[in-house]
Symmetry: C3
Subunit: 154 residues, 3 copies
């Protein structure tokens, strides 16, 4: 933990670098500290995974976008070809509401910066949510965490 899973419409793969977004989101999580200036997340536990949908339907399927396009005379692409990105962060229980808000705000800012140019060019909806995991069983099998623990030693 934490796990950030991104679902998105596959039309975005032609228009933006989703691997770069994954990396900047992971870097954002690496840098976030709590009220005592300690890292919120263990370095070895940060994972961002992005999945383009093979099939999708968004809103009205494009009618309103194309109608608006006709009215404004805007020119690039198909104004009815909506895009959508859903970012869901699952993190462990027990952090404060302040930490939740700081994490959410930081990830949203990173996401907005990534999509800023595209946002001005096409119809796109982005939603970011954070869930606290309510799991009834949790287990890890990893040689990533020790890697970072070892390196932190003098």
């Amino acid at each position: 933990m934490p796990h950030l899973v991104i679902y998105y419409t596959a039309n975005l793969d032609r228009e933006t670098d989703m691997t770069a977004l994954c990396r900047t989101l992971a870097d954002t999580m690496l840098s976030i500290v709590d009220e005592e200036s300690k890292p919120v997340f263990p370095k070895g536990g940060i994972r961002v995974l992005a999945f383009p949908a093979a099939h999708h339907a968004v809103a009205d399927g494009g009618a309103a976008g194309r109608a608006a396009h006709t009215h404004t005379g805007a020119a690039s692409g198909d104004a009815g070809d909506y895009a959508f990105v859903y970012l869901n962060l699952r993190m462990g229980r027990g952090r404060s509401a302040t930490v939740h808000k700081n994490v959410g705000d930081a990830l949203l800012l990173t996401t907005q910066t990534h999509f800023q140019t595209l946002f001005a060019q096409r119809h796109i909806g982005i939603t970011l949510q954070i869930d606290e995991g309510q799991e009834v069983f949790d287990a890890k099998y990893s040689n990533l965490h020790p890697l970072f623990n070892n390196l932190n030693k003098p």
Copy 2:
């Protein structure tokens, strides 16, 4: 919101049009009204995303299906090649139990209608569930909602 995510076994991509299913499910959500005849969902917030699994295992892996096939003499395809579809709708908190049931019933009917022919031809399991999001952070960055708000103005 709402987000309808569909996970399914990839064998279905050869047998049915999953993009069409996404669209009819979105249209179903567009048409659902609450007890006061108002739309349950904001038009710009409706998203359906479908993901075929690259790998899967269902039930016993096909033994019972092939055994039943032998007994009945049914002919088409491999009776041990099970299919599975999981539809998970995540919606915002605060709707009534009646709305949950109406939404679920409507989406199930649309799904059953879509798969009716296939259901008579192959072994398939379909499960539909609705979750109320319990997120601790929620943010949006979208030019889809305003699109519909503008069009609603005279």
Copy 3:
């Protein structure tokens, strides 16, 4: 139900057989019994679906792994090419804490056995969690369950 969804970094598809992992995890679920020696899960309801991520970022992106590699002189592959597997089992409500633990332990053992060789060769993190579904609507449309019910009859 139950549904076991596996998200993983796509680099693993070159190194291990994820379809085989799905099958052994399904077989593990088939064999689990409760305190009264009855099967925990209905045979027709067991589904395992695995999704490789099209894009990902894990931990620091590889720096610590490559640094450790230099120190130890270990040789195979890129030590900064981390892998990650997340297994999430969603099961119905109402089972005991003992059942949750037994299911989790059994699935973890199966997973560890599958990845044992790879674990000794590369950097990889594996997390397994079980959620009890908190759905507000649940419906099924299936000809899989009856298949098993019929076969159980004399």
